[in-house]
Subunit: 557 residues, 2 copies
């Protein structure tokens, strides 16, 4: 790998995927990291809890890493921090709310105090290594979001963070649209802009639209109101609190992350709720049902989150009564529809009124990400010479590229990258021809990166058809069978159904052992094991069309 | 269980779920079965291939089962037939296309000739046992669909099958709306009507709408066209063929079920395609790209279906070239969005134009099921005294109930049932108070019903954290350890990462064996095993936060 280049841009996570965002701006001997997210594994990654970026490249350059700048407090931007900080200590720069959420994470992992935390805001100007950095504020589904501007000797590099243009934002958290215009006017060498909603035509509606609909639903509701949304959507929470205040309802909180976020956001002043409005969930039943609103987790149908437990009748303090109203102030994320539907089924069985479905149909949710016209607006404001669409799967990056071309970015100056791809700038000439280490690092329990493909492949086989263990003890001196074969199965087939099968496996195993002994092939034992595996496997597949893992164990005594 | 009742209606599959439809109409000593579907397992049912209804009740009453009437040829109505027929032989009644598809299934399972097949049509009148049965034709996303009318002494029972009202159907397959009106006029005791789209307001658009949009896309396409849809949607296939004919394109077929359905439907006259239009996929490259349309499987993003393999570059004969057009004439079924998105990503990477997304946004798909206004139309036509919403998850049944009430059905005459619930009619009085055997029967490989909860629970544990096997051989005479503990793990952790861990497991196991022996607790061995399991489990969880299955094996020699 060459290091002659003065300026390089390297995504380590977040392109060709949704999640685990991590981008590196390398300027001479200074590496600055933007975001450190996690992502959730799909079903094929059995037993994996969370995925974080492979940071080998950062570790190789540990002495040059100047800091981590975090754009906002969502999991796909901060979720990897506790795991990464254990491997590579670096100072963290973030806004007040984002820092609050990061501190919560570090505390949970017993890591508070292991790294320095620097509070910034959209007006801050910092220098990491030799790179001056400034910021601009954006609208998104969590307060205190930043775009990041790197003033490098080669030119200005802009990273948008996550954004939409909400011209009537809740809490007056306006985006710095004039600052963006000025940055663009002064010249942008390269823009990295998020692509989540590049498939959506038009302009994403303002968060205020949801507020109006929530309010109307509150006026119409008769019993208790359960309302669920992403806890981190503080603007949404504020609008729920406002609707509750207007309809003389108290607020109770259900679900760990809801309690957590409301606590942090209230303490830091991002949430405006009189303490007298808050009711402990243990006291909810002391009020009339139409005096209470419960803000709860579980908007994605998670069966163990608060709403999931309430719906299935497994919540210790809360229950749905006939006539209660349940509002999903959310849209099911693709893949979660079936879980949400299960919860809705349960709520209807308990005779609740339920407002559910995609946000576009209920008006109870709007996206926090820029749609096509907003993406074009950002591109137009920044007028970048080079454009790198980030934060999205391939089709989103691809469509974002088409949008960039449509507003005048030169097609040959647009780079759709894979994680690990490097764009090097020499003067204002860009070159993409090298790659650094990259990939998914799996976190399973306390292990970071200790579960790899072999382990996952084994889990896959075990999950589909279980395991059959065959233990044989053999005398050291005479190679005669002392005991066994003992056959034990798990996850394969009912014991009572399998009697005939197991007798046959017993016979086949003995047969293999004899054949091999007849051939005077006393060793290596691996040969015996392989033969047993193959013969038993063939037999079981013919009889059952299943392929359990077959594990022959030969013990010498 | 009492059998005094003259008429009973019993769902054995299809209520509170989508899939495995099976309803029983019992009239005195005559049991008539409607449909015999399968459903696909969700991810939690590890290794299960397909789910069919529990037919214990039918087997108990084998001598009274008069036949199976099949409403149409979709998997959720015919998919269980090969598995059920092995356990319970009964004559099958279905329309020509449906029978063609059933025959294909029976052939595949080597069951052709084991049961009698009777061809009927919407004008047929048959008598099973002592029950006269007539039919009416409906519109749906496969031709030759039936509603079923049971003329029992207690009154008329109507089962709608799957339906929509398509007033401009493709191939002039009109629904018997006048016949439905007449049935309603003559009086319906009970209506069983499908609920799939009870959540959708309005009226489902006509299939012809899709035809017009496909035609327009064909006119605009420049390269080869790949178009994917459910193979069984013969009307859709016909419209694709028509669009190809108008734009001078030949048709090639990719995917087993596409070849299969086109073959059956063409042979039986449901598909009108001149033989000269059909091109073998091996010959596709002999034509100009704009002379070919490939109809392929894979509309739900199945990675191993034709389109999935084409998109990932793994199809033997077909490849996407820049400028080709790929059309999803389909909507992703909830849960399949991510798989479809993967395919779209791959297609964009190959520089295809891709038309994808929900049918409502692309106009390339319409549902085959009745929306709310159509459900109300069916209820209005039939004017039933009793109403049982079927074919849907709870919220759909619940909303269908509300629709029925809105058009005048008496709320107390509406039954939302669980599978196995029985509604008994004595005269025109209905009573729901008993239940028959019911449930999911799992098919795994060749086994029907031999995988149950214990096996699935084991697979779950194995899939999440793998297995750790500890083998110890103990001398029979002195209870001393002869060899071991030998520790073998699969799916738990990398071997090289686990050395320290395994040494500790070794030590803990020896310790447990000694302690127990010190206590003179030589037997039962289960006690030793349990202690090892607990101690090792605790240790591993503390060290790794994982819970592998721990399987101590003590061999006496």
């Amino acid at each position: 790998m060459t290091t002659n280049h003065k300026l390089s841009i390297i995504p380590l996570g977040g392109v060709n995927e949704i999640g685990k965002n991590m981008y590196v701006i390398q300027c001479g001997d200074d590496l600055i990291v933007v975001d450190c997210g996690s992502k959730f594994p799909d079903e094929s990654l059995l037993g994996i809890d969370v995925i974080i970026p492979d940071i080998s490249y950062l570790i190789e350059n540990e002495d040059k890493v100047r800091g981590l700048v975090v754009t906002h407090g969502h999991e796909d931007h901060i979720g990897g921090i506790p795991y990464v900080i254990k491997q590579l200590n670096m100072p963290i720069y973030a806004t007040r709310l984002t820092l609050g959420l990061i501190k919560g994470k570090l505390k949970e992992h017993g890591l508070l105090g292991t790294t320095t935390l620097h509070q910034i805001d959209s007006q801050s100007e910092i220098t990491l290594g030799s790179v001056p950095i400034s910021f601009f504020s954006t609208n998104h589904s969590i307060p205190d979001c930043l775009g990041v501007v790197f003033h490098t000797p080669q030119g200005t590099v802009v990273h948008t963070g996550d954004f939409k243009f909400d011209l009537t934002p809740v809490n007056n958290q306006y985006a710095d649209i004039h600052k963006m215009a000025e940055i663009g006017k002064n010249g942008v060498l390269a823009l990295l802009s998020e692509s989540t909603n590049a498939e959506r035509p038009g302009f994403t509606p303002s968060e205020r639209l949801v507020g109006a609909n929530i309010q109307e639903a509150f006026y119409n509701a008769e019993g208790m109101i359960y309302i669920t949304t992403f806890a981190s959507n503080v603007h949404r929470l504020q609008q729920i609190i406002d609707a509750a205040a207007k309809t003389d309802r108290k607020i109770a909180l259900a679900g760990r992350s809801m309690v957590n976020v409301v606590d942090i956001a209230s303490t830091l002043g991002y949430l405006n709720m009189p303490q007298t409005m808050l009711v402990d969930i243990a006291d909810v039943n002391k009020y009339k049902r139409n005096e209470i609103t419960v803000m709860c987790t579980g908007s994605q149908g998670e069966p163990m989150a608060a709403l999931g437990r309430i719906a299935s009748g497994n919540h210790r303090q809360l229950a749905v009564h006939p006539g209660d109203t349940v509002i999903f102030a959310s849209s099911p994320i693709p893949g979660n529809e079936r879980n949400v539907a299960r919860i809705v089924d349960n709520l209807f069985e308990r005779k609740a009124s339920v407002i559910y479905g995609p946000g576009s149909s209920t008006g109870m949710h709007v996206s926090g990400h820029a749609s096509q016209e907003e993406l074009k607006l950002m591109l137009t404001l920044m007028k970048p010479q080079y454009f790198i669409p980030i934060h999205g799967e391939y089709r989103m990056l691809h469509l974002h590229r088409q949008l960039a071309e449509s507003v005048g970015v030169n097609a040959s100056n647009i780079y759709i990258l894979n994680n690990g791809d490097v764009v090097d700038f020499a003067g204002s000439e860009a070159l993409q021809e090298r790659k650094v280490s990259n990939g998914d690092t799996y976190v399973d329990g306390l292990g970071i990166g200790d579960v790899g493909n072999v382990v996952l492949r084994d889990r896959k086989v075990l999950s589909a058809d279980g395991i059959l263990i065959i233990v044989i003890t053999v005398g050291k001196s005479d190679n005669k069978i002392v005991s066994g074969p003992d056959i034990i199965s798990r996850g394969f087939v009912f014991v009572k159904e399998s009697e005939g099968l197991m007798e046959e496996v017993h016979r086949i195993t003995l047969n293999e052992m004899e054949q091999l002994q007849d051939n005077n092939l006393h060793k290596p034992w691996n040969l015996y094991k392989q033969s047993i595996k193959e013969s038993v496997g063939k037999f079981l597949y013919a009889k059952t069309k299943r392929r359990p893992m077959i594990l022959p164990i030969i013990i010498l005594v």
